[in-house]
Amino acid sequence: MAIATIEKTAKNLVLTVQDYSLFAWRAFTNLYHPPIYWPEFLVQADIIGVGSLSIVVLSGLSTGGVLALQSAATLSAFGATAVTGQFVSLTMIRELGPVLTGVMVSGRNASSMASELGSMVVTEQIDAMRALGVDPMRKLVTPRIFSSIFTLFFLTIVADACGIAGGGLVTVFMNHQNGTQYFDMAWEHLRYPDIIQGLVKPLFFGYILSSIGCFYGMRTSGGTEGVGRSTIEAVVWASVLIIFVDFLLTQVLLTLLSML
């Protein structure tokens, strides 16, 4: 009985991975064959990018502030509070900016994609679209994926800037340190490999969060309860995958960039 359950679960997992891979590949390659629904790209870029701006600014500011507080407390033991700026900027740009933005945006948008598409599936709107001769993958999924990739890139830059600014505010007004020194250290120790690392990651995270959100939305079954289930699965898997892929990417990018 237990073995049968394990076997069934394993088969389901493999089947889901296979379905996701085919889904993500098809959504990606749709960009290279007409019809391409360009207006949908703009609409989704507005919803995903502009709509997520406030949470990205707030989380960036808070994270930068916390980093400055924590690092200053630790660094003061070694008399090295002067490097707070360097610490905050490198941590934000290389790691926390992309990952936090990815996770925050997936919380907001992977869930909204899964619930929106899931509702369309259970109310037969997706079937209606197909019956009207329109491919839902091209009309709904591909624009969401590429808009997510595009906007997450810029949202990450905003999060990085806000994080460094947040760290600066804490350094000046709470830790009573020199602001010029903070920003000098933040800028001077920044290298191109750090920036490249920080800007390559959101491209992957944007793809992950949107493809997972759309995938779970499009395979929704079981009415409104199914929509809820899809939403939860989309957010959980998108967040977990972002963190896991971040680990892999960091390893690969560190290796590649060290060769430059």
Binding site: P35, T123, Q125, D127, A128, R130, L132, G133, V134
Partner: protein, 281 residues
């Protein structure tokens, strides 16, 4: 009940349509979803100008059959021909142009929540980049047909269930399809609204003569379709003379995934099949 096809009445507007080859052909079609077959070895056809009413209790596979017709689902076995092309294994990309030649009315209307009635009805025309003026004119024509012109700028959320079905019919009709598929168009509606919907279907049948396949579990809808014709002068449907039925409206009946009846109303009411008799009782 002794029904005679209306073709026997000279001058009737409901004469049989000349046969120009079937629009839909099912040959030994079967489909299953993780269990016993939902449809088992189904064979039938829909001829030009013919309205076929698919009867059967809930959960018997009627909607599945309808989705097989335009390739929304694929059969596990058998062959389905739509407009003379075998669609059983046709790639999705090739199915889209074929689907634009059909109109489908879904069970709950399946209108797009985020679009106005105008944009819902014009959905295909918008995709085809038809000029706005022409879209407005054609949408108004389609809405006038279903007597809902005033809903042009409204969103589906502000419409009643019956109005949504009528908008869905307008959406299905706007490109003058070569085949219409109705999935329980009166399901869950009150008797008066149901009659309004059936009247629209009769109007469509008698004005445009579009071949159609209508799924329903409501016997009264099936009889209404068969016993009435649309009278253009009065602008409403009127009953056919007693004992006369529309010769182009015929019936199919499903029982547990198997097709147990295929014929006219006259043959249906005379059928000796136990399930048919129970269903009609």
């Amino acid at each position: 009940m002794n029904e005679t096809p209306a073709s026997s009445q000279p001058g009737q507007s409901t004469a049989p349509i000349a046969d120009a080859g079937p629009v839909v052909i099912f040959r030994n079609v079967s489909i299953a979803f993780d269990g016993p077959p939902v449809l088992d070895n189904i064979s039938f056809s829909v001829a030009q100008g013919e309205t076929r009413v698919l009867l059967g209790p809930a959960g018997v596979g009627k909607s599945v059959l309808l989705k097989l017709v335009n390739g929304l689902l694929r059969p596990d076995q058998g062959c389905i021909e739509l407009f003379g092309e075998d669609i059983s294994h046709m790639p999705e990309e090739q199915l889209f142009p074929l689907r634009t030649r059909t109109g489908m009315v879904f069970q709950e209307g399946a209108l797009f929540d985020s679009l106005t009635v105008r944009d819902n009805v014009a959905y295909q025309l918008i995709q085809e980049r038809v000029p706005d003026d022409e879209i407005d004119r054609r949408v108004r024509d389609a809405l006038r047909f279903v007597e809902l012109e005033e809903t042009f700028d409204l969103f589906p959320a502000s419409l009643s269930g019956g109005m949504r079905r009528r908008v869905a019919i307008a959406r299905a009709l706007i490109r003058q399809p070569e085949l219409l598929l109705y999935d329980s168009p009166t399901g869950g509606l009150d008797p008066i609204t149901s009659t309004t919907i059936i009247e629209l279907i009769v109007k469509e049948r008698d004005v445009f003569h579009t071949p159609s396949l209508l799924v329903t579990h409501r016997l009264q809808d099936a009889f209404l379709l068969c016993n009435h014709r649309f009278e253009p002068q009065l602008g409403r449907m009127v009953p056919l003379p007693k004992g006369i039925t529309d010769p182009n409206t015929t019936f199919l009946m499903l029982e547990e995934g198997r097709l147990i009846f295929d014929g006219s109303l006259h043959e249906l009411v005379k059928s000796n099949n136990k399930f048919v008799r129970e269903f009609l009782a």
